[in-house]
C-alpha cells in the first residue's frame, strides 16, 4: 500500500502521472500480483516502462501501433484470469479503440485497467491529433466503466492501486506532464465515488479534476485576495461521481467546474446532470477546453487560450459570482 509522504510526493510529481504509474505503481502491482500484465501500443519508452520490462519481461506485451488489438488481447487475458492494464495516449486508447472498450469492458465486463496518458492539452506542439478533450464524454457514456482522473503524481499511484481492486474495468485519465504540480503532500485515502474536499470557503464551490485541481486551488487563493471564499473539491472519481458533494452546492452563490476537457460532456456535464431538477441550486459556471481545435501552442499557451490558468479562472469566477 503506497503512502504519500512529502518526499515521494515530490518524486511522483517529477515523474508526472504517467511516470509515477509505470515507473512505480505498475512495478508494485507486478510484485504483489503474479497475474498482473502490462500492455502498451508502442509507448513503452515514453511511459517509463524500462525498469518494468527488465524485471517482468513475461508480463509485458507491446502490441505495436494497434490500439484496438491491444484492448482485444487484454480482454482475452482478463477472461482467462489475468489482470491486464493497457495503456497509450488517451486520445488513441479512448477513441481509436472506443468500440473495443465498449464491447469488452462495458458489454462483456472484462476487467481491464485502461490508462490514457497525455490527456487534455499537455502534448503542446504535437498538435490537435494528440490532445484529448473528448475522452470523458465518450467513456462516461459506456455502462460498467469506472473513471478516475488523478490530480497529481502521488494520487495517481494511490488511484492506480484503487483501480486494481475496483470491480470491473476502469479508465484512468492522466493529465499533465513531467513536473506536474503537487496537490497531495501527506497521505490521504481515496474512495471511488467520493470527492476529496481540499479547501473551504463560503461563496463559491469549485469542482475540479486532473491538473485543474492544482489550478483551482491557486485560483481560490487569488479569489480570497478579492474577498471571495472558495471551496475546492477534487472530483477525481468522474464516474461514479459524488452526488452528495455536488448537492452541497446549494450552500454557495456559485458552482464552478474546471477540467482539461471539452466543456461539453465531461466533468461539467456530470455535475450538471446531478444538479438538474434539484431546487435551490446556484448558477453553474463550466470551465474547460473550448469546443474547437486550437492553433499551435505550448502547454501553458494552450491552457491560456482556454482560460485555464489560475489568473484567468479567478477572473471568470469573479465576474460570474458578481453577476
Amino acid at each position: 500500500m503506497f503512502e504519500i509522504t512529502r518526499i515521494n510526493a515530490r518524486s511522483c510529481s517529477l515523474l508526472g502521472q504517467r511516470g509515477a504509474i509505470f515507473g512505480l505503481a505498475a512495478l508494485e502491482a507486478a510484485r504483489e500480483d503474479e497475474k498482473f500484465v502490462l500492455l502498451t501500443a508502442d509507448l513503452a519508452t515514453l511511459s517509463g516502462m524500462t525498469k518494468y520490462i527488465d524485471r517482468y519481461p513475461d508480463r509485458f506485451h507491446n502490441v505495436g501501433i494497434a490500439e484496438q488489438n491491444m484492448i482485444g488481447i487484454a480482454a482475452g487475458l482478463a477472461a482467462e484470469g489475468f489482470h491486464p492494464c493497457a495503456t497509450t495516449y488517451a486520445t488513441f486508447i479512448t477513441m481509436r479503440s472506443c468500440e473495443q472498450i465498449r464491447h469488452f469492458c462495458g458489454y462483456m465486463k472484462e476487467k481491464i485497467i485502461v490508462v490514457g496518458s497525455g490527456a487534455g492539452l499537455s502534448q503542446g506542439f504535437a498538435g490537435n491529433t494528440h490532445y484529448t478533450m473528448e475522452d470523458l464524454a465518450v467513456m462516461r457514456s459506456i455502462p460498467n466503466m469506472t473513471i478516475m482522473s488523478p490530480a497529481d503524481g502521488a494520487s495517481a499511484v494511490k488511484q492506480f492501486e484503487l483501480a486494481r481492486t475496483a470491480e470491473g474495468a476502469v479508465y484512468m485519465r492522466l493529465t499533465g506532464n513531467l513536473n506536474c504540480p503537487m496537490v497531495y503532500k501527506d497521505d490521504v485515502s481515496f474512495e471511488i465515488g467520493k470527492a476529496n474536499l481540499l479547501k473551504e470557503g463560503h461563496d463559491v464551490v469549485i469542482f475540479a479534476v486532473g491538473t485543474m485541481v492544482s489550478t483551482a486551488l491557486k485560483a481560490a487563493t487569488l479569489l480570497e485576495g478579492k474577498g471571495i471564499g472558495a471551496t475546492v473539491y477534487d472530483l477525481f472519481s468522474v464516474k461514479p461521481v459524488d452526488r452528495e458533494a455536488i448537492l452541497s452546492a446549494k450552500q454557495y452563490r456559485l458552482a464552478v467546474t474546471v477540467e482539461e476537457h471539452n466543456k461539453m460532456g465531461g466533468l461539467g456535464a456530470a455535475v450538471a446532470e446531478v444538479m438538474t431538477g434539484q431546487t435551490g441550486m446556484p448558477k453553474l459556471l463550466r470551465c474547460g477546453i473550448h469546443d474547437r481545435f486550437d492553433t499551435a501552442g505550448d502547454y501553458e499557451g494552450l491552457l491560456a487560450q482556454n482560460k485555464l490558468t489560475p489568473e484567468l479562472l479567478a477572473e471568470d469566477i469573479t465576474s460570474a459570482v458578481n453577476k
Binding site: 506485451h61 487475458l77 477472461a79 468500440e99 473495443q100
Partner: protein, 267 residues
Amino acid sequence: MDLKQFAKELRLSALKMACDCGKNGSHVGSGLSSIEIMATLYGDVLKYDVNHPADENRDRLVVSKGHCVLAYYSALNKVGFLSDEDIASFETNGSHFHGHAMRNLKHGIEFSGGSLGMGMSFAVGLALSCKKKGLSCRVFALVGDGECDEGLIWEAAMSAAHYQLDNFMVIVDRNKLQYDGPTELVMNPLDLAKKFEAFGFDVQVADGHDCNALSKALKKMADKPMCVIADTVKGKGVSFMEGVKEWHHHTLSQEEYEQAVKEVANV
C-alpha cells in the same frame, strides 16, 4: 459420431429456429454456410465437457462471426450446453439468446459476438493466456470472409504470428457473400489464403461442407498459427437460398420452411 448425420440435424434445427422466430427474421444464409464447420468442431475436434464448461483444459471456440447463431445455438443444444427451452427462447423478449451470442461459459459460449473483427483479437488474447498458463488446449476463432474487411482481423493476425501462437487456429467461413453482395464486388478480398500465409500462418483450404475434409484440416497442428479457409456456400442445403444475398437476414415462412426441410431431409 456420424458427422454427416449430425450436420443434417443441425441444419434442420437451424431452419426450425429461423421459422419459429417469425417476423423478427434471422441470419439464415450464414447460419447454413457454417453448419458443417460447427458439426465437425463439436462432433469431432473440440475438447469440451458440458458438465465442466469452465474446465481450464477445454478448447476455446470464439465465434467471431456472431451472426451464425442458428448453427451455433443448434450445435450447443445438440451437445447439451443449451436446453430445448433455451433455443426455443431465441429472439423472444427477455431471452438470453439474441441474434448474436452472449458470453456465458455455462452455455459453452466464450465470446459475445455481433461486432465483427472483435473475436479474432479476443481469441489471440485467450491463446496467449493459455500459453502463459502452460495449457495444452487449442483456441479456435471462426470468422466470416466479409468480416476479413475489418482491419482488426489483420492486427490480430499479425500478433498471433508475433506471439508464435501454435495453439491458435482461425477458420474462415468463405461463403463469398456479405450483406451487400458478393465479397469480390463489395470489397475484393483477393486471395485470402495467400494473405494469411503472408501474415505468418500455416494455411489450408478445405471444402467447408465436407466434414471429413474439415476434420482433417481442423486437426492438423503446425509450429505456427493456423488458418483453414472453409470453402462454403451461403444458404447451403436449400435451393432457393444458396448464393442468394437476400437470405443473409430474412424471415422464413411456414411454407418456405416446409420446402427447405424437405430438401435437407432428402439429401
